[in-house]
């Protein structure tokens, strides 16, 4: 009978050592993993965000490889730093897992983190590993403002153009596919396993003078809803300007679902959505709507083609 080495057999300290041994440290890092804390330089103020990924809630081991999960853990979190217009610098990870988890899974997870961290321009500087009933991953990213004011959610003003960069709808369509046992279209499945975050575009938006910004994690309508509510103005989306990617159309046809549903309400794509003064939207961003004056619509909500949206706006956890 083939045997699989488990993390319980490897032991905690050797596991940590094997997981961090190959990590590359960026120039800002003056002390990497292995001490009580890691030390790195910050240019300007620090910007911090944390995200938790729990097995069977945010990912499934039978649907995603360990590498996918490691990549996703970094991607979804760096996306929040991008959404502040800041520059991501360092990542730490809290990793808990049952003792019978294959040690190879933990190592591949770490390799996935390292690979995505490299892509995102951050260093994995430390972590904590411990036991637990399921695989649970808490990633914290620290970024730096580097001379620019952070772009908040509450800065949208009437007349702003609303624009997005990155994918929309792919991860939501991919979730439906995986739930039905399909593995294609591959782009949708891949987006569910790990989103393609438009790294660097948050900074581009900040430099273009974005008034408000958010990353689209819960769904475009839900997340623009946060900007609308916190800024105190309504947003109107023009669906004719929304790009519905080919794989999303394909999944829509195969399942009888309007693909716009995933573009508007599917979460986990981690596109960036921002508002800009007219004619300041940077190259590569797509204008999809505008911020309305309060005398036109007083309720700070998100309209779709001028109408209230009667369907699902996004999803949250804990709901039955």
């Amino acid at each position: 009978m083939a045997t699989t080495t488990t993390i319980s057999q490897v032991g905690e300290f050797p596991l940590i050592s094997s997981m961090v041994a190959d990590l590359a440290m960026g120039q800002a890092v003056t002390l990497g993993p292995g001490d009580d804390g890691a030390v790195f330089q910050i240019d300007g103020s620090a910007v911090v965000s944390t995200d938790v990924l729990v097995e069977e809630v945010h990912f499934r081991r039978r649907w995603s490889t360990a590498t996918d999960v490691g990549r996703k853990a970094v991607a979804v979190n760096v996306s929040d730093i991008e959404a502040m217009g800041a520059v991501p610098v360092a990542v730490v990870v809290g990793f808990s897992a049952p003792g019978d988890l294959p040690a190879a899974w933990a190592r591949e997870f770490m390799a996935g983190m390292a690979s995505e961290a490299d892509k995102a321009g951050v260093s994995v500087v430390g972590g904590d590993t411990t036991g637990g009933p399921v695989v649970s991953i808490a990633v914290t990213v620290i970024g730096q403002t580097a001379g620019m004011a952070p772009v908040r959610r509450d800065g949208a003003v009437p007349g702003d153009e609303v624009a997005v960069v990155g994918q929309l709808g792919l991860a939501g369509a991919g979730l439906v596919l995986l739930g039905r046992g399909f593995r294609s279209p591959r782009a949708a499945v891949a987006a569910q396993r790990c989103p393609e975050v438009p790294y660097g575009q948050g900074r581009v938006a900040a430099k273009a003078g974005a008034h408000a910004m958010i990353d689209v994690s819960d769904g475009l309508l839900a997340d623009l809803g946060h900007i609308a509510e916190m800024s105190g103005f309504a947003i109107d989306i023009d669906t004719s300007k929304l790009d519905v990617a080919e794989p999303v159309r394909t999944v829509g046809m195969a399942t009888g679902v309007d693909p716009l549903t995933w573009v508007l309400a599917g979460g986990e794509d981690h596109a960036l959505a921002a508002t800009f003064a007219p004619n300041t939207v940077p190259d590569g961003w797509t204008v999809i709507g505008r911020v309305l004056p309060p005398d036109q619509v007083s309720d700070p909500t998100v309209l779709v083609d001028g109408q209230a949206w009667e369907h699902e706006r996004g999803w949250t956890h804990f709901h039955s």
Copy 2:
């Protein structure tokens, strides 16, 4: 029948709002919870550490109140920043829990975090809440070097005095008490529920020129072992200088265990241990041993009264 409101009934967004509503932000925080990221000022370099606490691994809901767990989550983590000689600034928390967790538990947990954060001089600037099979808490603390070099584990040199500040043995003795259904001596039980971290003493040690420092989380011998190994020199502990607190003696007598076992190998007290050049140990610290020259003992290990310690040195996770 009395009903308890669960976090599932409250929903994720209202839960987050109720949890963060009462948080006080320190002067360094320029943007608190509620956006994609929190923003705060850093003096010098950033120092980061993360710790995960999992129900039934690190705490039990029947042994500890939600307030205890919230306090402990902050304390054990800030302790790592102290151990670098840095100044803790901000905390983020990843909180996952089953949907049937009483909402009151989550709120009291957050109140515990806020209370300990206040004591430790840090602000809770953000977090993430999600579902999961058990209560699992990942806390990340970011500190600042504020003009002093971080105190690492690898700087001990022969002739150094080894000194500690804070409690030793109480949390370990408390764990035995709770395991047997006892609730006294209260000091030991309280230390297990939440350690009394000697806040500020890490900075005191750094200012006194400490050569190496660590927080005692796994056990004095295990943690001094990290200093010995990373510095490349042996450490000898003089047990006659170890203060065995009265409650630890009491538990020892009641259970027939040598109380020194908990002082030397009991974890979770989060005392600080450091090495200093002779005659530079700060007030309030207790000298308990010294760093040996390699011609006296070549193996970088920790001796007890000049002898190898044949018993347990501390504990790690995942072990059966």
